[in-house]
Amino acid sequence: MKLTLVTPQKKMLSDVEIDELIVPADRGELDILPGHASLMTTLRAGVLRVRLKGKSELRSAAISWGYLEVGPTGATVLADTAEWPEEIDKLRAEEQYRLAMTRLQDAGLAPDDQILMQNKVLKESARLALVK
């Protein structure tokens, strides 16, 4: 099974052979193995894990929101942002996490902003989970 992982900023993986892909899908974690039925789903902010062909360990990446399409030949992940653990700035992520948390506690927050901040918290906690 081939995996392509792209974001508007860069191409992370392009047609790489993989054995397994675990994504934070709309209704909880999804484990995709070769031969999966055709599927189209949205992804939440969280940790994406991928096992490259012939390897035993999983590689992780923090993603915020996106899409997953699975077809007979492979999978495509279109993420808004995606980072490998080595690309994450831990201090910055911590700071952003705290900022989003405090803003979320603000009672006068508009509903739209509230969703925005909730997503932000999810995104930053995924980044933090990777660097810890």
Binding site: P8, S38, L78
Partner: protein, 294 residues
């Protein structure tokens, strides 16, 4: 016949110009590298998202106004991207002339044509020709951002779904390489589906009638199309910015070369003049001395 002093000042002024064009070339080269990086990183995402949209459309599980091709476009919104500044060769001229021809060809066929001009050059060109713009956006090269593109995309898309327009078209320069740009006229909405489904079973894509959607296809397609459209808008803008820097770099390089040629020509004439005047003086001195000794 110009005097020696005139010649000297002309050479100096050409040298000055050469210095400026060389500096501009350097600046464009640096800016081009950044813009090029952005566009090269952006392209795979834009292509993939189009692929996914096509796949979803081909499953025939969803219906969406953005995916339907109208038999005839009556109300067209044209978004024309040029640059803010000149000195970039035929970059703006190509876009403006093409757009003008397009307007002439389709004026009678379309019942309404509206324009959004991005970049001062295009806006000025068409204002002089009495064509009203609905909106003018300046400073693209400096402030290009995904947020701005998606905001604009959202407005356009809302107008499209409300039925104000039935075609949205972009005219811009596509970045091919540092030395070549290609003029593109692209229909962004409704979305052009590249593959025509002959036999769904034979397709190599993920499209299949049994595709599982999670959550509802309707919900996904709505977001996906919005995302796709803003990506395309951003890509067009980024292409144009990169192409502009490339065009400026090439034309400044040519200008520097021309200045160099001019300097060598002028220097040659200057030296000839100098020699001629020395010879003249020598002859005068010699004949003067001869007259005295006689």
């Amino acid at each position: 016949m110009p005097s020696l002093r005139d010649m000297r000042s002309r050479i100096a002024s050409v040298k000055n110009t050469q210095q400026i064009t060389r500096a501009m070339k350097m600046v464009s080269a640096a800016k081009l590298r950044r813009a090029q990086e952005q566009i090269v990183n952006m392209r795979p995402y834009a292509q993939r998202i189009l692929q996914v949209v096509t796949d979803v459309a081909l499953t025939r599980q969803v219906e969406h106004p953005l995916l339907k091709t109208p038999s005839k476009a009556n109300r067209v919104l044209m978004i024309v991207i040029t640059s803010d500044r000149g000195l970039c060769g035929g970059f703006n001229n190509a876009v403006c002339r093409f757009t003008e021809k397009y307007i002439r060809d389709y004026k009678d066929a379309h019942e309404k044509m509206d324009f959004i001009f991005i970049g001062r050059k295009g806006a000025d060109y068409f204002r002089r020709r009495g064509i009203q713009a609905r909106q003018v956006i300046l400073n693209l090269a400096r402030e290009i951002s995904y947020n701005m593109a998606s905001k604009m995309a959202e407005t356009c898309m809302n107008e499209f779904t409300a039925g104000d327009y039935d075609e949205i078209r972009f005219i811009y320069n596509e970045f091919k390489s540092a030395i070549s740009q290609k003029l593109v006229s692209e229909r962004i909405l409704p979305i052009e589906l590249v593959e025509t489904p002959a036999e769904p079973a034979n397709l190599k894509t993920a499209a299949s009638p049994t595709m599982i959607f999670e959550p509802e296809p309707k919900f996904i397609i709505e977001q996906l199309l919005a995302q796709h459209f803003s990506t395309q808008v951003f890509r067009c803008m980024a292409e144009s910015v990169a192409a502009e820097h490339a065009a400026r770099m090439t034309s400044m390089e040519n200008a520097t070369k021309n200045a160099k040629e001019m300097i060598s020509k002028l220097t040659l004439t200057y030296n000839k003049l100098r020699q001629a005047s020395i010879t003249k003086e020598l002859i005068e001195i010699c004949s003067g001395a001869e007259a005295v000794s006689d």
